[in-house]
């Protein structure tokens, strides 16, 4: 119709239409209202939601809900509403399209928003999906166990936290502060932390907990926790050097310690190798020890502080308590053992010995009592003492010690020679060798000017020999004479030797040794027994070697029927080890033991030794020695040795010195009273 009007000539109208069509060609075609006005779109909620996903912790987070509305007329007003399933609440009304929600109460909520436009049109988002608000993350530090104070490095303090709320898994970080610095200690899911602080000081501890979505809670610093210095024993020292005498000496042990909490209790312990005994427990750090029994002891101290921390000094080095005899001790003098290989009137010689001993004021057991005892016990062997006989002698006669004199040489030809060896054995259970000495004198030992010093009378010489031994014994009994090691002469050192330290139980410093009779391959009768005595003498003078009394060794050899053909075999060594309970066994061969007769000649001694380590069943020492009396003599017989006794004695002492050096070469210096024992 219009087109037909245009065609009919209304060209202005056609031009308007064309212009309108061109101008509106690109526009969206709205609903046209009359006269060009637009119709508003309906009010709609385009989006509505929180900025943080559910769940969240109450009182720890602010959740922003945001709404975008479209349509409607004019400005909007929003009303945010919540419901916990029971109650619906209007939370915020206003023009703001956002709402910052800080939920205080845990629960499951739903949120919705109502939007109104300027002319009252309303839009409703509808209830959101459930939004969970969990309880807030809370952490508190419980009291530590154990409570303050404690000793640093000794106590393990358990710190425990109590934590609730939050979302998901929690990570607990323990932190300490010592003054200003804060230190992170343990971090992880564990609710406790075992604190083993080595440094003393005053500490504070706190725990910081973080949940899975990053919520953090802090326990705050704990109260001050005091760690005092570690309880430590610095030294345990006796006031006297070992060895000391049983039933006579009093040794004061003192412990020096540091650290720990408040009052300390000291426990002093002794060990004799077989059993341990608590000697004193109390608040005193000193202990006066009066050992009654001889033996090798070790002492340790345990210190406990007020909160139960205990520290142990460890066993001290060996402390020897020896038996001794005094001038008042009752001594039995056994018959003289004759090792000369010749008939000698030993009874007469014994009489002179006993007479001299009596003159010196020694308390000797009467001959009648001794004879009765020997008869009673059918004693035939009188050159040694075993434990049973020693005990019986002590109980039945009250004898404290037994003197065993041995005649090694009695040569009446000019110049005469005499050798006497004696040893004193205690009748105590362990029959220790208390003293041993010998004297070997030749008439031409000191001829002097124009041979005026030559001794030609055997009786005079015997008197000198026996007098020397008696002097030495009296010196020992009166406490004047020591039994120290003899001086070692270089010329008497073994010609070849080899030694390795034996294997002994840890901490054991004193080795026990049994000396078996030497095999005699010399022309001298009894040379095997004589060499055994020389080694017993030399070994008993050595500091850290305990020698088993030969009487005890003989008893064991007889009881076990040990015949050492060709030497000691390993099965025999095992038997001896079991019976004697010794660490080492010394065996040897004497191939030469020769004194000379008359005024000219030269004594000769040759022997070899071997020491078995009973633990490893191996030889740990072997040596070969030979010497002549004039070895190392160049001018006028100065330094010449005239008896095989003196020669063998020097050689045995030299061998033992080298042996001891080889046995202890791994260890440090010998223990001293002043040196603190190892602690802890």
């Amino acid at each position: 119709m219009i087109f037909s009007i245009n065609c009919s000539g209304n060209r202005y109208f056609l031009a308007y239409c064309l212009l309108a069509a061109v101008l509106s060609g690109c526009a969206v075609a709205p609903i046209s209202v009359p006269r060009g006005e637009r119709v508003p779109l309906p009010l709609k909620i385009a989006s509505f939601g929180p900025d943080k996903r559910s769940p969240q912790a109450a009182d720890m987070v602010t959740i922003r809900w945001k709404v975008i509305a479209t349509g409607g007329v004019g400005s909007y007003r929003y009303e945010f509403r919540t419901t916990d399933g029971q109650e619906e609440k209007s939370e915020q009304v206003g023009v703001l399209p956002t709402w910052d929600w800080s939920p205080k109460v845990p629960g499951t909520y739903r949120v919705k928003v109502l939007v109104r436009d300027a002319i009252g049109n309303a839009g409703d988002s509808g209830w959101s999906s459930p939004y969970t608000v969990v309880p807030p993350l809370v952490v508190s530090l419980l009291s530590p166990d154990p409570v303050s104070p404690q000793a640093a490095g000794m106590a393990k303090v358990r710190w425990k936290v109590n934590t609730t709320g939050g979302v998901g898994e929690r990570t607990i970080a323990f932190r300490t502060t010592y003054g200003k610095e804060e230190k992170r200690e343990q971090e992880g899911p564990s609710l406790w932390w075992d604190w083993a602080q080595q440094e003393p000081g005053t500490y504070k501890v706190k725990a910081v907990v973080q949940d899975a979505i990053g919520n953090v809670a802090d326990s705050g610093w704990s109260r001050e926790y005091l760690l005092v210095p570690k309880l430590k024993i610095l030294s345990v020292t006796p006031d006297k050097f070992p060895p000391q005498v049983a039933a006579v000496s009093a040794v004061r042990w003192e412990v020096n310690e540091t650290g720990g909490v408040e009052e300390r209790v000291y426990s002093f312990w002794t060990s004799n190798g077989t059993s341990e005994r608590a000697e004193q427990i109390g608040l005193s750090p000193t202990w006066n020890w009066s050992p009654a029994e001889p033996g090798i002891y070790r002492v340790k101290v345990a210190v406990r502080d007020a909160i139960g921390n205990t520290v142990d000094s460890g066993w001290s080095p060996e402390y020897r308590i020896e038996l001794t005899a005094g001038l008042k001790s009752l001594i039995a003098v056994m018959p003289l053992e004759n090792l000369t290989g010749m008939p000698v009137s030993v009874q007469e010689l014994r009489k002179t010995l006993v007479r001299d001993l009596s003159r010196k004021g020694l308390n000797l057991l009467g001959d009648d009592d001794l004879e009765k005892f020997k008869e009673r016990h059918r004693i035939r062997y009188t050159a040694g003492l075993n434990r049973e006989l020693g005990e019986a002698l002590r109980v039945e006669t009250g004898t404290d010690a037994v003197l065993f004199p041995t005649l090694e040489l009695m040569d009446d030809t000019l110049p005469p020679k005499a050798v006497l060896v004696a040893r004193l054995i205690s009748t105590n259970r362990s029959t220790p060798i208390l003293w041993m000495d010998g004297a070997g004198i030749s008439g031409n030992d000191a001829p002097g000017f124009l041979l005026l010093g030559l001794v030609n009378d055997p009786a005079v010489l015997w008197g000198k020999t026996e007098g020397k031994v008696v002097e030495s014994l009296v010196g020992y009994l009166s406490g004047k004479g020591g039994q120290g090691p003899r001086m070692v002469e270089k010329r008497f050192l073994p010609k070849s030797y080899h030694g390795v330290p034996p294997e002994v139980p840890a901490g054991k410093e004193t080795l026990s040794i049994a000396v078996l009779p030497f095999r005699n391959e010399s022309t001298r009768r009894n040379a095997g027994e004589i060499m055994t005595l020389h080694f017993i003498d030399a070994l008993s003078r050595a500091g850290r070697i305990d020698v088993v009394e030969p009487g005890e060794v003989r008893q064991v050899l007889l009881r076990t029927r040990t015949i050492m053909k060709g030497g000691l075999s390993l099965p025999q060594a095992d038997i001896l080890h079991t019976a004697l309970n010794v660490d080492l066994v010394l065996t040897g061969i004497v191939t030469e033991y020769q004194d000379y007769l008359g005024g000219w000649g030269n004594p000769k001694v040759e022997f070899s030794t071997r020491v078995f380590d009973m633990k490893t069943r191996q030889i740990v020492w072997s040596s070969s020695s030979y010497n002549h009396g004039d070895d190392g003599v160049f001018f006028f017989n100065l330094g010449k040795v005239n008896t095989a006794f003196a020669l063998a004695s020097g050689m045995a002492h030299s061998t033992v010195e080298k042996m001891e050096a080889a046995f202890h070469k791994k260890e440090g210096p010998p223990p001293t009273a002043g040196a603190p024992p190892p602690t802890e």
């Binding site: 070849s496 030497g567 191996q618 030889i619």
Partner: protein
Amino acid sequence: MRGKTLLHIGMAILFVLVSTGCATTTSKVVYRDPNMDFGAIQSVAVMPFSNLTRESLAAERVRDVFMTMLQATGGVYVIPPGEVARGIGRLNLDRPATPTPEDVTKFAKIVSTDAVFTGTVKEYGEVRSGSSAANVVSVSLQMMEAQTGRLVWSASSTRGGVTTSDRLFGGGGEPMNATTQKAVDDLLDKLFGK
């Protein structure tokens, strides 16, 4: 005159050469099995030695010195003589100084050893040469491997005897023990490859 002096000097040299002709010298004769690993030997047993001398204890003496000195080298462990005696007794060996290879293997098992030494003392004592006298020791040793009993080492040594100085100036030579030790020392040198 000059020719006479030269003659005297020549005679003196000749005398010295003749007189030293009897002195002992070190024998270098040693047998050593080239296939044997001597380093593998850790323990040895020394059997009683044969004694070809008039001195009844010569063999035991030399053996004792040898055992001690061998142990003293620290190179090997020497089985104690008592243990050796036990092994001999167990096998009931008639002649322990000269064991057969079978005896050696059996014996070595009993005493747990890697090698067995046997020896012979050929001379032990005083020898005389004119008016001079001196001690002499002559020893030969053999070592047998324990597993097969075969001989792996053998050597001998002679020490002592009358020397030139003994002839010229007299003196009885060295003591027997010192001579023995020198002979054993020489054998140990040969054993350890010097």
